[in-house]
């Protein structure tokens, strides 16, 4: 039974990634496209991970702290698993729409829970693999490897996600219970998540400093890890030294809490899944209502949908926050940049251009419009039956993306311009180029979603986080920034100044945006009408 439920659940997740509308089967082209995307993501993330691991490995192994390397690797993997799954856990385990249907069938609640946990475990393995696989390979390259150490590292790596899953199951439950009682839960949850992400970003940008500190204060840090993070300490000892006792200790730390959490949750699954966590009843007080135009009403509806769902805000708008974080960081660390520019004369004129490209990369990560068609889901009949032009419906989705992103682009451009003391042309580009990316991304998201719609989702999370449209839009936009950077470096840098090149990019982006707008007005409307 668990396996049957697991298969259905997994199929739903995979379908969420691959399939379009429920009327169509997954085409070969879509599979190829998804495969290319997957390879692109793997190469980028595995490469980054390998680079950081190599840095740590070369720092720790020579001073006899091999175990600390593995301990830190396990901490990073644990954090990535936790961040990746904690938000999805609540919706997948406790608030899934098919909970009540399954509970009405002769299926043990524990089996339903186990099948859901297995899918989450699989997701955790993917997250953990991004760090643990390159970490293992890097260790093999730079350090001597024992058979026992390798075996224990592999088995410990397979057990590590149980730790994060245990914690995310518990926290997911708390988040689901607390957030469902809050009004404005979308914004509150998003603020918490963003605060967490800012801390994480700060950590990542300072990783070299931290590693230097770790090396300088190795003994102190090692003692702290040994004391406070003992499962990770034993993970490190088991992998680095092939210590069987430490492995057993780590395995117990990973499996026993998981078993307890599973036991407790399966016992209470019915009450958790069927609990009415409604918000406190708000008595309606009659007051004057305001009329708006239908275009404004559609835009307000889109913005309210976006604001109401924390998963939507967190997954679609993290790039907007990163823009401000990047610009704020520049403002604070202005002295460092001046020093770099002074030390490397070639950098002097191009730092504003690089920062501008960085802001564009962040803007490219915003995918508010990418799931906006799919997210209509069961409400699609409403916009189709109402007397509104399809063009207005689609443009409301485009405009929502722009309205919720552009203030961040303007703020970050202003901060960056102040920090870098840019000249007039650089300032104009600093404002113009990220804005062009915001507008381009808004149109691109809707175009891609019309090509890859998905309405048979169980939870909105599926079409926001796991749909083909969201992934293609995000990675497509990021690839666009990379291609433009590569083109400059290898083709245009020899005869064009960076400022002129960026201005040309803005023109090309504007032309592309206009092309997509023209398509949305014609073919896009027809595609939407046919959905």
């Amino acid at each position: 039974m668990v396996f049957t439920l697991f298969k259905i659940r997994l199929k739903s997740v995979i379908n969420g990634l691959l399939s379009g509308s429920k009327k169509k089967a997954v085409s070969g082209g879509r599979k190829v496209l998804f495969g290319i995307l997957l390879i692109y993501v793997l190469v980028v993330f595995l490469g980054l991970s390998a680079a950081i691991c190599a840095l740590m490995c070369q720092a720790f192994y020579p001073i006899g702290y091999g175990w600390l390397y593995f301990a830190l690797v396990s901490i990073f993997a644990f954090l990535l698993c936790f961040i990746g799954s904690v938000l999805a856990t609540g919706s997948q385990l406790y608030n899934s729409k098919d909970n009540q249907m399954l509970l009405a069938m002769p299926v043990k609640p524990g089996d339903i829970l186990a099948s859901r946990m297995l899918v989450l475990l699989l997701e955790n393995y993917l997250y953990a693999g991004v760090i643990l696989v390159p970490a293992g390979i890097v260790w093999c390259i730079f350090c001597p490897v024992t058979v026992m150490g390798a075996v224990l590292y592999i088995v410990s790596s397979l057990l590590l996600p149980f730790l994060s899953l245990t914690l995310s199951c518990l926290l997911g439950w708390v988040i689901a219970a607390v957030s469902s009682r809050m009004r404005r839960k979308g914004i509150i949850s998003a603020v918490i998540y963003i605060a967490f992400f800012v801390v994480y970003f700060q950590f990542c940008t300072n990783i070299t400093n931290y590693i230097n500190d770790l090396v300088a204060n190795g003994e102190v840090i090692a003692a702290a890890v040994r004391k406070a993070l003992f499962p990770m300490y034993h993970f490190g000892i088991a992998a680095a030294e092939g210590n069987l006792l430490s492995f057993v200790f780590f395995a117990l730390c990973a499996v026993v809490p998981f078993a307890i959490v599973y036991f407790v949750l399966s016992r209470n699954f019915i009450s958790i899944a069927t609990a009415n966590r409604g918000t406190a009843k708000v008595k309606y007080k009659e007051r004057a209502v305001k009329a708006s135009s239908s275009s404004l009403a559609l835009l307000k509806k889109e913005i309210r949908h976006y604001m109401a769902n924390p998963m939507y805000i967190m997954n679609a708008s993290i790039g907007a926050v990163l823009m401000v974080v990047l610009a704020g960081y520049l403002l604070i660390k202005n002295g460092d940049l001046t020093a770099i520019a002074g030390a490397v004369p070639e950098m002097e004129g191009i730092i504003p251009g690089i920062v501008c490209a960085g802001l564009c990369m962040c803007a490219a990560m915003v995918i508010v419009s990418a799931p906006s068609v799919s997210i209509e889901g069961p409400n699609l009949w409403l916009v189709k039956s109402l007397p509104v032009e399809t063009e207005d419906v689609l443009m409301a989705k485009v405009n929502c993306h722009i309205v919720v992103t552009e203030p961040f682009a303007i703020l970050s451009a202003a901060l960056a311009s102040i920090a870098l003391k840019t000249n007039v042309l650089e300032t104009v580009l600093m404002f113009l180029l990220p804005t062009m990316f915001v507008v381009f991304g808004a149109l691109f998201g809707v175009v891609i979603n019309l090509k890859f719609p998905k309405f048979d989702w169980i939870s909105e999370v599926h079409c926001i986080k796991q749909s083909a449209a969201s992934m293609i839009t995000m990675f497509g936009m990021m690839a666009l920034v990379i291609v433009e950077a590569v083109l400059y470096l290898f083709v245009f840098s020899s005869f064009l100044s960076l400022d002129i090149y960026l201005a040309a990019v803005a023109v090309v982006m504007a032309a592309g945006a206009f092309g997509m707008y023209a398509w949305l007005k014609g073919g896009g409307c027809r595609t939407f009408d046919a959905l």
């Binding site: 409604g278 039956s385 509104v388």
Partner: protein, 234 residues
């Protein structure tokens, strides 16, 4: 008010509606009955401009849904069989959204929200998010939203499902009042007793084809609607 001429719609090889023609005059309550999968919802969705159809024409108040969908939609309201509404909005925000789309001025919408909100005992819950509503409350909200622009034609798919007896009675009353003012109502139902008592005319559909239509007296003669329906759809 509503003229359906030779409507045909297929899904792949399956003909959902086959050469269906119906005329509904102002002031009429027109019932649409048939087995599950007979083509009722497909017909209704085609009328409302949700589904594109293969052949035929649909005119609402003299305007074609094919060539002038906006004007047609302005004149009518659609109530689906399952009220999937915007759950991220509160009841009042949902009604305001619908009123904005139909261009209902602030004063009129306020009056109608008050009138129908009180009538269906939903006013006190309008501040709640739609996600907190029961099925019946969502159905009531959908009914109020359908009435907010005082449509000339109401097209409803199983409107009584999920309503409590009082709300059912009130909806029937509203339907009759609207028709007395020269508006028209076209609705599908499986509750034949309701159709028999409420409708001026009735149409029976089977396998996508219209097998009977006319005034209640013409269709039933001396039998009950249930007997006639069962005999015709055997």
């Amino acid at each position: 008010m509503l003229r359906i001429e030779n409507l045909s719609k297929s899904f792949g090889q399956k003909k959902a509606v086959d050469d269906l023609s119906l005329h509904i005059n102002p002031g009429e309550i027109y019932g649409f009955i048939g087995h599950n999968g007979a083509g009722k919802t497909t017909t209704i969705k085609s009328v409302c401009g949700i589904l594109k159809f293969d052949r035929g024409e649909i005119y609402i108040n003299g305007k074609s849904i094919k060539t002038d969908p906006m004007a047609c939609k302005m004149d009518m309201a659609y109530l689906p069989d399952n009220p999937d509404l915007y759950e991220f909005l509160s009841g009042i925000k949902y009604l305001n959204f619908i009123a904005d789309i139909y261009g209902v001025d602030a004063k009129t919408r306020q009056e109608r929200i008050k009138k129908y909100g009180d009538m269906f005992e939903l006013t006190g819950d309008l501040g709640q998010p739609v996600s907190a509503y029961s099925h019946g409350m969502k159905q009531k909200l959908a009914i109020i939203s359908a009435l907010i622009h005082d449509p000339k034609l109401m097209v409803m798919d199983e409107p009584f499902v999920g309503l409590d007896p009082k709300a059912t009675h009130l909806l029937k009353q509203v339907m009759r009042e609207k028709c007395d003012r020269g508006h028209a109502v076209f609705f599908s139902t499986h509750i034949l007793e309701v159709a028999e008592k409420l409708c001026d005319k009735v149409a029976i559909i089977k396998g996508g084809r219209l097998i009977a239509s006319g005034s209640m007296e013409e269709i039933t003669k001396d039998d009950s609607l249930e007997d006639v329906f069962l005999e015709l759809t055997e």
